[in-house]
Structure formats: structure tokens, C-alpha cells
């Protein structure tokens, strides 16, 4: 870029085409349609290639952001994808679900003026462009080391470790409890936000690299980690945070009350929205309330809409405190999800056949900030309200499943059921066992799980090389 051009700062973020709300609320196809090559190039050209790029510092996997933006600006998509994939093995996924507004885009020098580069959209564009090419590039593979690593869990953490270690020359087997690889990416995040074909493509790429993928295998049940270690040199645990929490209020076991995991699994993993072609049934409810305010709650509420229900979010704080990505909140609002803020469920009310028919809630007001820094909701006496409904989805959080801890003697488990592991290396209290992702941090993000996987892979590789 010449000096002359640089003076003309372009602060206009290029919008990404989307399905209009009144159309998309009736289908499960992806909401965002992605940049065209022209839009991607225009947007990438806005980057001024800072000498000390502040965006990179805020990317959990330190992607060379100006590097790939420059390639895109030049129309060199092959070069761009190479820079991107050097640090991020799942760009098509991250381009869609990463909270960029909290990360790279937040520290872009244009952020103050509201013109931060749409890094996520360009990342997504590049990854999709590559997928459309007939053959994706296969990396040069080093000679085989003869060392074997077992990975527990086929989510983003496990898949990242698998990809890295096979490229270091080790033999890798991934053991996944469910019948599909991908973790939350396949059973939790809905099709309209992350098409499953994209996840499958990434999984197929790993298969092509030579990773052995074993589904229907529950480590701790089908085989313990110690038994696996008789055959493998190291184990990485990336089993996620898949244990759903309930409110523990009366009526929670009525028919029509779901955990978010159940609701989303029926739809995404089991493809219940295609019942009876797929055999797992889903109910067609008329009025659904989703309790919670995170990404998970938004996904449930927007899924309920698409199944034809009136859908509302019940959240005990206000809009400002919603932990979900702003973009997803806006999408939900546009599509017609009703939001009841400052509202806390007290009990579920059942009919004579054991089906939920209403929810009783209490109104809240915000008090002083609590430990999380957010203002604490305080109940308002006498403000009880009853909403009629025929389904409730509880989306208030998940924690790690205790199975691995219970079946692996000597593995140190923290207070919240998380496996204790070194932040920089993923090393656990047990020799030959590493861990990372949601099972260590509690429910977090895809990119953090990937980042943890990347660190652990490096540490495992060092260990294997020392043998």
C-alpha cells in the first residue's frame, strides 16, 4: 500500500449478507451467507498493516492477522489460507463462532472509531473459499516417530491435538463417546449457526492425515485411561463440560422440561427436526421458555422458533449482562424471540398428566456489583408472575462430567469438577496424561479449547521426543 492511499482511512465495515429474519426464522439453514470475494477484498484492504498489530495480541492462538488480511487484499486467497492455517486448524468454525468482538476486533486500532476490521468475516470467507476448491492442500508429513497418543473426546480441543501431533509424526487415535466427532460443534451449536458439513469436512481432513477416529467409545467405561496407557505413550483428555445443571426448583422433572443439552442434541446430533426421516422424535411445542442468557440459551430459543413455537428467554439480569455474543442476541431479537429480563423462575407448574403448563417467576432488580463484577439481581417482593407454556429449556450452564476423574486414580480434580492442568502445557498431576479445553476451564469457547490443545500438543511432542 502506498503512502498516498494510507491517508484515506476507510472506516466503513462491510456488512455480511444474511438471510432476512422473516425468512430464516422458519428454516434451519445458515443465517449468515458470507462475504463475496469482492466484499472480502474490500474489507481486507481497509487494514492499515500496523507495525505493532494490536489485534494479534488479543487472539488466543496468535494468528498473523495482518498477514492474512494482506494476502486477501491482494486477491491471493491461497496465500491467505496458508497464513491462517499456520495457527488455526479450524478457521471455518472459528470464523463463525469466535467472539471476535471480544478478541481481535476489540483491539483493532479502528475499534475506537467503530470501524474495526471484520476479521472474523474474512477468516470465514477464506476458509469457505478453500473448501470450494477441489483439493485442500495436504501438508508435508515428517517421518513417523513410532510413538502413539490417545485422545479422549472429539471436540475442538481433542481434534486440535490430533491434528498437531500427527503433523509432528506421531500416531494418533481419538476416542469419542458419541457416534459423531466434533463435540459441542456437532451436538450443541445448531445448523443455522454452524452447518454440520463444515465440521465433517474438518474431521475428514484429519482422517486423511491419518488420524484414527474411534466413535462409540466411552473412556472410563469401554476402557479406562490406565488400560489405554498400556498401549499408548501418552493420553490427552479433552472431554469437555457436558454435565447439564438444573435449577433445582419444584416441577423440574415434569414432561416438557429439558436441559439445553437434551433439546439441542435431539435437534443437532440426532437431526430430530427431520423426524421421521431421522428416527429421534422432537415435540412440536407451542410456547417455549428458555432459562438462561448465554450462547446456549440463544441457540435453544432460536431453535424453538424454527420449530414453530413462540419462544422467550427468561434471564435474571438485564440485557447488558447477557453473556451471549451480542451478534447472536441481535439475531434472536430480529427473529422474534421475546426477552424477559430481570426474571427468575421459581417453579414449574404441571397439568394432571405430568406435563408442564406454566412457569412461575419472580421479577428482579439490580443491586450492587457481585464477585463477577456484574450487578447482582435482587428479588422484588410480591412481583410473582405466571406464564403459560408447554415447554421449558434449562440453559443455565454445564460442568465437566465426573467419569474420567472417577476412573483415573491420582488424577487431580478441582472443586468444580474440572481436571487440574498447567495453563501453559496442559500437564496434569499424572505422568503421561495431559488435559485441556472445557474439561479444565469449565464451559468456555471454541478458540480457548483449541489454544489449550495447541499448547498441550507441543508439550506432548516434547515429552515424546525425550523418550
Amino acid at each position: 500500500m502506498s503512502e498516498g492511499e494510507k491517508k484515506q482511512l476507510d472506516l466503513k465495515r462491510r456488512e455480511m449478507p444474511k438471510q432476512p429474519p422473516e425468512v430464516r426464522r422458519y428454516n434451519f439453514s445458515e443465517v449468515a451467507l458470507g462475504y463475496t470475494p469482492e466484499l472480502a477484498i474490500e474489507e481486507a484492504k481497509r487494514c492499515i498493516q500496523c507495525k505493532k498489530p494490536s489485534c494479534i495480541a488479543n487472539c488466543p492462538v496468535e494468528i498473523n492477522i495482518p498477514g492474512f488480511l494482506k494476502k486477501v487484499a491482494e486477491g491471493d486467497f491461497v496465500g491467505g489460507i496458508r497464513v491462517l492455517k499456520d495457527k488455526n486448524c479450524l478457521p471455518a468454525v472459528c470464523g463463525r463462532v469466535c467472539p471476535q468482538e471480544e478478541q481481535c476486533e476489540k483491539t483493532c486500532v479502528f475499534h475506537k472509531k467503530g470501524g474495526q476490521i471484520a476479521i472474523g468475516r474474512i477468516e470465514r470467507f477464506l476458509a469457505d473459499w478453500e473448501a470450494q476448491q477441489s483439493e485442500s492442500e495436504m501438508p508435508d508429513m515428517p517421518p513417523r516417530s513410532g510413538r502413539k497418543v490417545a485422545i479422549v473426546g472429539g471436540g475442538p480441543a481433542g481434534l486440535t491435538v490430533a491434528g498437531d501431533l500427527i503433523k509432528f509424526g506421531h500416531e494418533v487415535t481419538v476416542f469419542e463417546a458419541l457416534h459423531k466427532m466434533g463435540g459441542v460443534l456437532v451436538y450443541g451449536i445448531p445448523e443455522f449457526r454452524l452447518p454440520k458439513a463444515i465440521v465433517n469436512r474438518e474431521v475428514e481432513y484429519l482422517r486423511k492425515l491419518g488420524v484414527e477416529l474411534v466413535t462409540d467409545f466411552v473412556v472410563g467405561k469401554t476402557r479406562t485411561i490406565d488400560s489405554i496407557l498400556e498401549e499408548y505413550d501418552a493420553v490427552f483428555v479433552g472431554s469437555g463440560a457436558g454435565l447439564p445443571w438444573f435449577m433445582e426448583i419444584p416441577g423440574e422433572n415434569l414432561n416438557g422440561v429439558y436441559s439445553a443439552n437434551e433439546y439441542l442434541t435431539r435437534l443437532n446430533l440426532m437431526k430430530g427436526f427431520l423426524f421421521p426421516k431421522y428416527h429421534t422424535p422432537v415435540k412440536s411445542h407451542r410456547k417455549v421458555a428458555v432459562v438462561g442468557g448465554g450462547n446456549v440459551a440463544m441457540d435453544c430459543a432460536r431453535s424453538a422458533l424454527r420449530l414453530g413455537a413462540e419462544s422467550r428467554i427468561i434471564y435474571r439480569r438485564s440485557r447488558e449482562e447477557l453473556p451471549a455474543r451480542l451478534e447472536e442476541v441481535e439475531n434472536a431479537e430480529e427473529e422474534g424471540v421475546i426477552f424477559d429480563f430481570l426474571t427468575l423462575p421459581l417453579r414449574y407448574i404441571g397439568d394432571e398428566n405430568g406435563w408442564v403448563k406454566a412457569i412461575e417467576c419472580q421479577k428482579m432488580e439490580l443491586g450492587e456489583p457481585d464477585a463477577s463484577g456484574r450487578r447482582k439481581p435482587i428479588p422484588i417482593e410480591g412481583s410473582e408472575v405466571i406464564y403459560p407454556l408447554d415447554a421449558v429449556v434449562c440453559a443455565i450452564g454445564n460442568s465437566p462430567n465426573p467419569l474420567i476423574g472417577a476412573t483415573t486414580p491420582g488424577l487431580k480434580i478441582g472443586k468444580k469438577g474440572n481436571i487440574e492442568a498447567d495453563e501453559k502445557t496442559g500437564a496434569t498431576s499424572r505422568e503421561k496424561i495431559w488435559a485441556g479445553g472445557d474439561v479444565v476451564t469449565g464451559a468456555a469457547t471454541v478458540i480457548l479449547a483449541m489454544g489449550a490443545g495447541r499448547f498441550a500438543a507441543r508439550s506432548i511432542h516434547e515429552y515424546l521426543s525425550s523418550l
Binding site: N255, S259, T265, K283
Partner: protein
């Protein structure tokens, strides 16, 4: 993929399926179950392990053909394959030397109680097996159970074998035994287990049941299998499936099992016209 080794209808509507699943066979213990999918588009359904052989790497399940998955499983011929067999899931049944154990079974529970009774026998218990069915032609595995039981008792609705009636006859049958009973284990349909529980509660005999709520993953991830036991919510797939029968909230379990009746049973058991009629009725109720 998991290969079908043997497949047979053992009594009307009750099927036996032997599958090659070496990893499951190696770890299986009495009282555990597997989750299967019959096809790529299939639902995940839990079935108890009725037998296994670690050496040949096979497992055997016995099931009643009642719905979409069991219907498909029933049609499989040896040599065919199914995409999912995962397990062994759930906790094993507690096997101790209790003294005299009564094993109450019916329906698919005749199959699933067999490995439990066998293990209890090996532990030195006296085994009294009580089998229940509508009619004598619905009994199977008589010889297998007889071989490990000290006493066999049959109950049939129509009186065609043993006592006439149902699990309601249990108190008098138990009273008629020449020895005190130290423990009762019941496997089979929910009604049989509930009735057994109702009948043994006043007798104060510890009774264990293998609960069968709806499940999806079987690993504690979805929570659909929740049951209330001793006023606490438990996930049957990871905290069970065995629970103290007298602590179980049976009404809730029966209720929750009906969740998908409308979706799963109605289309299978009725003509489409009836179904439409039902829907319009439902609408007019609103």
C-alpha cells in the same frame, strides 16, 4: 460398524440379537447396558446386556419389538451391521453374598436378569427365580435360569403355567417359601418393577430394580433419563440403572416414559386417518 452374529425371535415379539462388540464384551458386568443405533438415521436406544463372551468378543441383548428401533433391530439377519453399539454403560448390579436372593423377571428382564442371577449364584447365594408372563408360551431361557437357580417359580396371567395372576401374587409366594428372603432383584417392564416394589415394601425386604427411562447419550450429558430416588434427582444412565425400588418415584417414571407416545406409538399403531383425527381433536381442545 458392529456385525450381527445371531438374530432370532425367541418367543412371539421377543428377539435375541448377538453382536460382535469386543470392547464392550471385555468390560461387561451384570446389570450394565449398551446403547445401539440400528441405522445411520437411527435413534439411540438402551438395551440391557443379557449375556456376553469376552473370548469371542460378542454381546447378546434381548428385546421386545415395540417401536421404530427395536422393530428395525428385529429384522436384522446375521452378517448385517449396525452403526452404534456403545458401552458397557451404567453401574454393575451389586453382587455380594446376601444369602437368599429372589430374582423377579418378566419380558426382556428374563434375559437381563440372567447374568445377574449367574453372578449371584457364583458368589454363593441361594437363587429363587420368579418369572412372570401373560402366558406360558412367552417364557424363554427356562433351562438357562433353571441351571443356576435353586428354585423356579412361574406366574402367568392365564394360569397356563405355575401361579395364575401377576406380580400381585408375590407376597403369598414369598410367604410360602421355607426360608427368609434377604434381597429381591426385579428386571423387566416398568409395571412389573413398580408392582414388585409395591408388594415388597410392606415386607421390608430390600428390593433393587433396573430402571428404564428414556435415554439419549447414556453418559450423563443430556439429563433426559432423570428419575427421582429418595427425593433426589438422579441420572439413571450414570447413577443407575439400579436403584432401591422403595425410594423410586414410580409415577414420575411412568409419566416421563410416555413423553413421546404421541410421536412414536400413534403413527406405528394406527392408520394415518386416525392420526389426523386425533390431531384435529387435540386442536379443538385448545
Amino acid at each position: 460398524m458392529f456385525r450381527v452374529i445371531a438374530s432370532k425371535m425367541i418367543v412371539p415379539n421377543m428377539h435375541l440379537l448377538t453382536l460382535a462388540a469386543p470392547a464392550v464384551a471385555r468390560e461387561a458386568k451384570p446389570g450394565q447396558f449398551v446403547i445401539l443405533r440400528a441405522e445411520e438415521e437411527g435413534e439411540r436406544v438402551p438395551l440391557s446386556l443379557s449375556d456376553w463372551d469376552a473370548q469371542s468378543g460378542t454381546i447378546t441383548v434381548v428385546f421386545m419389538s415395540i417401536g421404530s428401533t427395536t422393530g428395525r433391530l428385529a429384522l436384522l439377519a446375521p452378517g448385517a451391521s449396525i452403526p452404534t453399539v456403545v458401552g458397557p454403560l451404567g453401574n454393575a448390579t451389586e453382587i455380594e453374598n446376601y444369602g437368599t436372593v429372589v430374582c423377579v423377571c418378566g419380558c426382556y428382564g428374563i434375559g437381563s436378569i440372567f447374568p445377574i442371577a449367574r453372578a449371584l449364584k457364583r458368589k454363593g447365594n441361594r437363587i429363587i427365580t420368579i418369572m412372570e408372563a401373560r402366558s406360558s408360551y412367552l417364557f424363554y431361557w427356562d433351562e438357562r435360569l433353571e441351571a443356576i437357580s435353586d428354585k423356579m417359580i412361574h406366574i402367568t396371567r392365564d394360569g397356563s403355567k405355575g401361579h395364575r395372576g401377576h406380580a400381585g401374587r408375590l407376597p403369598e409366594i414369598l410367604r410360602g417359601l421355607e426360608e427368609p428372603v434377604d434381597r429381591i432383584i426385579a428386571n423387566g417392564c416398568t409395571f412389573l418393577m413398580k408392582r414388585t416394589s409395591d408388594e415388597t415394601r410392606p415386607l421390608g425386604i430390600k428390593t433393587m430394580v433396573s430402571l428404564n427411562p428414556i435415554m439419549i447419550d447414556g453418559t450423563g450429558m443430556c439429563g433426559v433419563c432423570r428419575v427421582t430416588v429418595g427425593s433426589v434427582t438422579r441420572f439413571a444412565c450414570v447413577h443407575g440403572p439400579d436403584f432401591d425400588a422403595h425410594q423410586v418415584d414410580w409415577e414420575e417414571l411412568l409419566q416421563r416414559r410416555k413423553t413421546y407416545m404421541q410421536e412414536e406409538v400413534v403413527p406405528l399403531r394406527t392408520s394415518r386417518c386416525e392420526e389426523r383425527h386425533l390431531r384435529s381433536q387435540e386442536k379443538s381442545h385448545e
